[in-house]
Symmetry: C2
Subunit: 111 residues, 2 copies
């Protein structure tokens, strides 16, 4: 498995360690943004297979990898060994994604 990007360390595509670069690397992996999004939508902790279904049947192998990355990054955490939820940091990230949601609507109207 690859390395999970962390602020303060060189990441793929940037050796400066600037936090935003680590964030762009982590979040720019397939399904990562979506997994975070769906974890939030659920509200309550979400199980693995349920989460997989919410993400339009994404590959279980990739979901497993993404969850491990998000756990290492402190964004998501296993609740009781059977479900997953966002950490406070993860919730903050979703909040930070809010304007992006608004933008996507503006984008939709422009087409």
């Amino acid at each position: 498995m690859g390395t999970t990007p962390r602020p303060g360390r060189p990441v793929r595509g940037s050796d400066t360690g600037r936090p935003v670069m680590a964030a762009l690397d982590l979040l720019g992996r397939r399904w990562t943004l979506r997994v975070i999004w769906e974890l939030h939508q659920g509200g309550a902790p979400v199980g693995f297979r349920d989460l997989q279904r919410r993400c339009d049947a994404m590959s279980s192998s990739v979901l497993s990898t993404r969850l491990a990355e998000l756990r290492e990054a402190g964004i998501a955490a296993p609740t009781d060994g059977a479900t997953w939820h966002l950490t406070p940091l993860g919730d903050d990230l979703v909040t930070a994604m809010g304007p992006l949601l608004d933008w996507s609507h503006a984008w939709a109207e422009r087409q």
Copy 2:
């Protein structure tokens, strides 16, 4: 070449056509967020090779693909056939990414 996600149409990973899903698909491709970011940082229009250098020598083939996608999505545009710049919509997207930058700093301090 793959298809560029557009709001209102089914995209990879979601057949609902919800704008946010199209956005998450488009932005969740490698280097996409970074390219947008660097196009903004430049301020003035940026040339292909210059942009490639700013993105830590990312692969030219992928940069070419990403620029085509961003152009189709109405986020970036060729200035005069020799440089690239963000459209107003692209500028809005960077603005929408602002909170994400803030979050990455909070993330950095948590580690």
